[in-house]
Symmetry: C2
Subunit: 135 residues, 2 copies
DNA sequence: TTATTTGTAATAATTTTTATTACAGTACAA
DNA sequence: TTGTACTGTAATAAAAATTATTACAAATAA
């Protein structure tokens, strides 16, 4: 399991708490304590999903693309969401086995269901509310 | 992300569909198409959680430890559940940063919440109902 | 007593994740 | 117009996690 969601959430939290001021990827990498290129990659992805804006050049950096009240944790999770919520084996189940032949379809159906519940839960909290919990 | 949950679910599905008959780890490995030692390890874990019983020796193998109607998908997930539902970065956020200092606690709180919702959802389906979907 | 099976350890191979280096492009400001 | 401080991204290396393989002791049925 990778750390993309916590990192994306950490980034978004920093940007929210900066209250409109720009932050550099180096600064954020320092807070997260992770390589700055990884932060820039994640930022790049967040920009693609229109949650973050950037400005190149001197005094450039990153800001939220819209107000924190309009960004839910579900939207943040969406940017890093894996194919399979509860994990994916890299095996190809035996198609000659009556169970093996069908299991992937049923797991996939289950995952759609789980994902819906998860997104609903994450949709309950917006970034502003999440950050309001910090002292 | 690893494939433990799908593998555990595949195992449980096979045992359920065997209707009380014993299955060997080799047979299950053939259906899942994964190494038999990995299957035995997962079975070992399922036994520890009292969902599966085993019998060593010739004609030995594995069976469900109780009726499939009394086993929920939540109980199966419980046996393989990772520390952090939505992933864990291996970094140690900067304690000198006001956000970094607190983020892990807030992520942890969020995860407890998410986990509760997830377990509730998975608790809705028992193994019998899951397997009933197979043709 | 032989064959088959679980249980587990040790190790190797593979894959995924993260870090590092490098550099082109942008923009500000002196 | 030149230097400086950024973003954006590619290429590669290092580290960590996952899965496969080999080996073998212990159990038990026939």
């Amino acid at each position: 399991m990778n750390g993309r969601f916590p990192i994306a959430l950490h980034i978004m939290t920093l940007l929210c708490s900066a209250e409109g001021g720009v932050l550099s990827s180096e600064y954020m990498a320092g807070s997260i304590n992770v390589n700055a290129v990884l932060v820039r990659k994640e930022l790049s992805n967040l920009i693609k999903h229109k949650l973050v804006s950037s400005q190149a050049g001197k005094n450039g950096g990153y800001t939220l693309a819209r107000s924190a009240a309009q960004i839910t944790l579900a939207q943040i999770y969406e940017t890093v969401k894996p194919e399979a919520v509860l994990g994916q084996a890299k095996n190809q189940p035996n198609p000659a086995c009556p169970i093996g032949k069908q299991i992937n379809q049923h797991i996939s159906d289950l995952y759609i269901d789980i994902d819906r519940a998860l997104m609903q839960k994450l949709g309950d909290t917006d970034l502003k509310a999440f950050v309001a919990k910090f002292d």
